[in-house]
Amino acid sequence: MSGMPGGGSLEVLDGLLLIAALTYAAGILAARRRGRSWPAARAACWYAGLTVAAAASAGPAAAHGFVPHMAGHLLLGMAAPLLLVLAAPGTLALRALPVRRARRLSRAFSAWPVRILTHPAVAVVLAAGGLWLLYTTGLYPAMMHSPAIHLLVQAHVLGAGVLLTHAIVGVDPMTHRATPRVRAAALLVFMAAHGILAKYLYGHPPAGVSGPAGRTGAELMYYGGDLADLALVIVFCWQWYDPARFRVGARRPPRPWTLHDDARIGRLERIDAPQPGNQRP
């Protein structure tokens, strides 16, 4: 365990990523058996996201040192979550599962713990707060020496990144979604917190990190974070702009009905129809 930070945790994470890859493929096959297609672009996002996450934990980014650590952290916490969220695994699950279980899953999406966790403010606190704890307390040197802590931190970085991305630009079904204004404000706060921490680390590297490595790592965090934030902002704005695929604001004119809507309603009926007594006005 001395050469690589947390050698044992690598295998656990890679195992989880492999399971995620196989589950998604099984979902596509199951959906296809039920007569439902699945967009290749979403699948591409999923596998690209898993590859990025694996590269972050196993590739050169996993080597010792603060700079490779930071590169891995950016890939795992920002790039991978955006790709994974845009792959819409929740929607795929709804299409792939039998009706009864899909309904149960759909109810789980609106359960109160999920609603709290996916609120933008909570997601921002989890993501940004986790980063501040990691780099300003003894957590960073601790994770470099303990594979277990290393794995936990990596899981948190990925998990919080996915939560935040889902809360801001998620495409899976979400009840009680925050308004675009709240989501924009949350994203802004997160971007600021990330940038502020990067600048702070430039002058105050974590314990056990040398000055030059701390400065290079901090600059990488700052500009790499900007790049990831830019992607997130563009996706957010695109969702606001694109009236055909996303919820429309009150100040928009009515739009014409499209074939896409027909397809979408067909899907909803498929999930909702068989249960009598479920007619909503």
């Binding site: 971007m191 600021a192 917190a193 940038g195 002058g203 600059e219």
Partner: protein, 143 residues
């Protein structure tokens, strides 16, 4: 939609001013420092918020502009008025509050700073004046 024209302009103005500050003075000229160890916490927070805001503004403004064009309600003068006003407001905030009050960093180091500060803030006020001039002119009914 009149306000959306101004908003789009203001956002892009803030974004462009922040972008010019970042690329020209930080990256190309290296006049500013990335991080000055003496930077106090308030300065760091203000800088971080405005960096993120400028970023968001640039992208948001362009999407707002696309939306205005798609609705055929783009108003050139209000938009440019917003842009100048936004750029001037950010520049003035940067030159007064961030550089001086919060002591974030100076425009340039190891030189007499006064002419730089004057140039910086006079340009800011000039941008503001142009911006508000354009916005005011538009309020009169077109005949």
């Amino acid at each position: 939609m009149r306000s959306r024209n101004v908003l789009s302009g203001v956002f892009l103005g803030v974004g462009v001013a922040a972008f010019v500050d970042e690329t020209v003075f930080h990256q190309l000229l290296h006049w500013h420092h990335f991080y000055d160890r003496s930077t106090p916490a308030a300065g760091l927070v203000s800088d971080g918020l405005f960096h993120a805001f400028g970023f968001f503004c640039t992208v948001g403004a362009l999407f707002l502009l696309a939306d205005l064009r798609r609705r055929n309600v783009f108003d050139r003068r209000r938009w440019w008025g917003g842009l100048f006003a936004g750029a001037g407001a950010f520049q003035l905030y940067d030159g007064t509050v961030q550089h001086k009050l919060l002591r974030l960093h100076e425009i340039r180091y190891d030189v007499d700073i006064a002419p730089y500060d004057w140039a910086w803030n006079v340009i800011a006020v000039a941008l503001l004046v142009v911006g508000f001039g354009l916005l005011r002119r538009r309020r009169r009914p077109v005949t």
